[in-house]
């Protein structure tokens, strides 16, 4: 029992080794969001035509690092913390295989640093996608592989902990909904990481010279089984976090457990095939493959998002109405705890993921429409809506819960924390909307010289698109300020925050 402490606020029994692992993974995630955020600022200042800060080589180098630091390191380190929290802490049990969890952390950190160093010294200017025939140094691929192996081990520890909880009977009946959501994320993670292993191991051997040729269409197919599905892990984890934040901040309970669980099962079964979106304009695949994978089954996963979109706000509304905010349609919304950064971050996340990310995702994922959106900045705007306005925002909200609950510290600079989600939300919404807006004028993604100033013939863009680029820049700078506020509050809480006894 000396390995456990009882949380005075929730009465939950907290396994101390699990607590330490949650802390170290969350702190590492925040270090990577700082690195990725700095890269984001430099990239945004380059995309603004009036500034055009970086030279081309550094632009692509920093774009690669931005992708790895944000899409891989920040998100997955934080998800490791979520998996340990939703298993060991919420199920009141010990974490299975603590040593394996530390090995996983070591592999992930070592792998992320190896990839980051290779990028920074100019050995991997291949961007996040690293499409062949672009070739990085073999250590870059090895770094990604080590990270993926570590992440698989995190999922194994999570499933082991579920088995421990079941064996030691620390919960009755089915898993709690939040843990079930995290389990859905972990299932998707293993399928995703298997794709990563299938494609990165031969690519690594290709970089070592053992294999002579990597087939580009096959690489794209399997890479996106990893690259896009890894964002589906985020979707699942994010939705689980919404239910958790709603429960903690306003006491919301799921309106109908069966329906909510069904939505998670639909994610588990059908969301991974949405990777097809990336190969909709590839010539090697038949219309049947494209239509099947972006149509029939995938829309069952879209249905799941629709269910959550109805279930989470309803649960919040019912909880707030029970507290007496019953006037009209929206008194509950007006009287909601907007001063609580965790709650406001969750609302920004739900709205951002639904209105910006979800709608554009389903629209651009339609085969016919994809042809006018593919490889334009509309796609970049879409995934910044899902991953940043959605997932990152919800993880920020969870951080404000984890700081007092797990780190046992009072949140430092509470006024700054109160405004942080709003600043970040306004910034990222402006940025994403105007990315998509300029993209709809044909503005290409992944392009250093967006005005084609060095091109042999001029490619004039509509002036409206150029104006949109500048508004995007303003949004990006506000978002970086909001992200900086998050890092400042988190780090200050850890360093100078008052202990909660």
């Amino acid at each position: 029992m000396e390995d456990f402490r009882v949380c005075p606020a929730t009465g939950l029994k907290v396994h101390k080794p699990a607590e330490l692992l949650i802390k170290i993974n969350a702190v590492t995630a925040i270090v990577f969001i700082l690195i990725g955020g700095l890269m984001a600022l430099l990239l945004a200042l380059t995309k603004i035509p009036a500034i055009h800060l970086l030279p081309s080589d550094l632009f692509y180098r920093f774009l690669t690092l931005h992708g790895i630091a944000m899409l891989v390191a920040w998100i997955i380190f934080f998800e490791a913390a979520i998996l340990y929290f939703t298993s060991a802490v919420l199920l009141n049990c010990r974490l299975a295989a603590v040593k394996v969890a530390w090995l996983a952390y070591g592999l992930m950190l070592g792998g992320a640093l190896m990839a980051a160093v290779e990028i920074l010294i100019g050995n991997a200017d291949c961007m996040f996608t690293s499409y062949p025939p672009l070739q990085a140094h073999h250590l870059y691929y090895l770094g990604v592989i080590l990270f993926a192996v570590g992440a698989i081990l995190v999922c194994c520890v999570f499933f082991g902990t579920l088995a421990v909880a079941k064996h030691e009977k620390t919960y009755e009946g089915s898993l709690p909904l939040v843990t079930f959501g995290a389990a859905a994320a972990a299932i998707i993670a293993i399928v995703t990481l298997a794709h990563g292993a299938i494609i990165f191991v031969p690519t690594w051997l290709w970089a070592l010279g053992v294999i002579q040729h990597i087939d580009a269409p096959a690489y794209r197919l399997i890479f996106w089984g990893f690259g896009h599905s890894s964002q589906q892990i985020n979707v699942c984890a994010m939705v689980a976090v919404w239910y958790l934040i709603a429960a903690v901040t306003v006491g919301a309970k799921p309106v109908n457990q069966r329906v909510c669980r069904t939505a998670f099962v639909l994610y588990i079964l059908f969301i991974d095939i949405a990777s097809e979106h990336h190969i909709l304009v590839d010539p090697g695949f038949s219309a049947a493959h494209k239509a099947w994978n972006t149509g029939y089954f995938m829309h069952l996963a879209v249905l799941a998002s629709m269910i959550h979109a109805l279930a989470v706000p309803s649960a919040i509304e019912i909880a707030l109405r029970k507290k007496g905010h019953t006037q009209g349609y929206f008194e509950w919304l007006k009287k909601a705890p907007w001063g609580n950064p965790s709650f406001s971050a969750m609302v920004w996340s739900i709205a951002g993921f639904g209105f910006l990310g979800g709608i554009t995702g389903v629209t651009f994922g339609t085969e016919q429409i994809n042809i006018i959106a593919h490889n334009t900045w509309r796609i970049t705007g879409h995934f910044h809506s899902t991953v940043v306005a959605g997932t990152t925002m919800s993880f920020m909200g969870l951080t404000y819960i984890v700081l007092p609950l797990i780190f046992r510290k009072e949140v430092a600079f509470p006024k700054l924390a109160k405004f942080q989600p709003h600043v970040f939300g306004v910034g990222i919404w402006t940025m994403a909307i105007f990315m998509m807006f300029s993209g709809s004028f044909g503005m290409p993604r992944r392009h250093w010289d967006i005005t084609f100033s060095d091109a042999a013939f001029s490619i004039p863009f509509d002036q409206t698109a150029m104006m949109a680029l500048h508004i995007f820049g303003v949004g990006a700078i506000i978002a970086v300020i909001g992200g900086g506020m998050f890092v400042l509050v988190s780090v200050a809480t850890l360093l100078i925050g008052k202990d909660i006894k």
Partner: protein, 56 residues
């Protein structure tokens, strides 16, 4: 009567048995993704004819 009500309580609905079986869900997730997306896609690439050599 009490025994009957206990039995009714113990009877877990099929959907719940299915949802609680994490390994089965994992297997189905992997099977659907690999068959519908990955293997089918690789088969299509494999069946794409190689471009004949042209000399200009």
């Amino acid at each position: 009567m009490i025994e009957e009500s206990k039995k009714a309580e113990e009877k877990i609905p099929y959907w719940q048995v299915f949802y609680d079986d994490i390994m089965l869900l994992f297997f189905l997730s992997a099977a659907i993704t690999f068959i519908s997306f990955t293997v089918w896609g690789l088969m299509e690439i494999g069946n794409t004819p190689v471009m004949p050599d042209y000399t200009f």
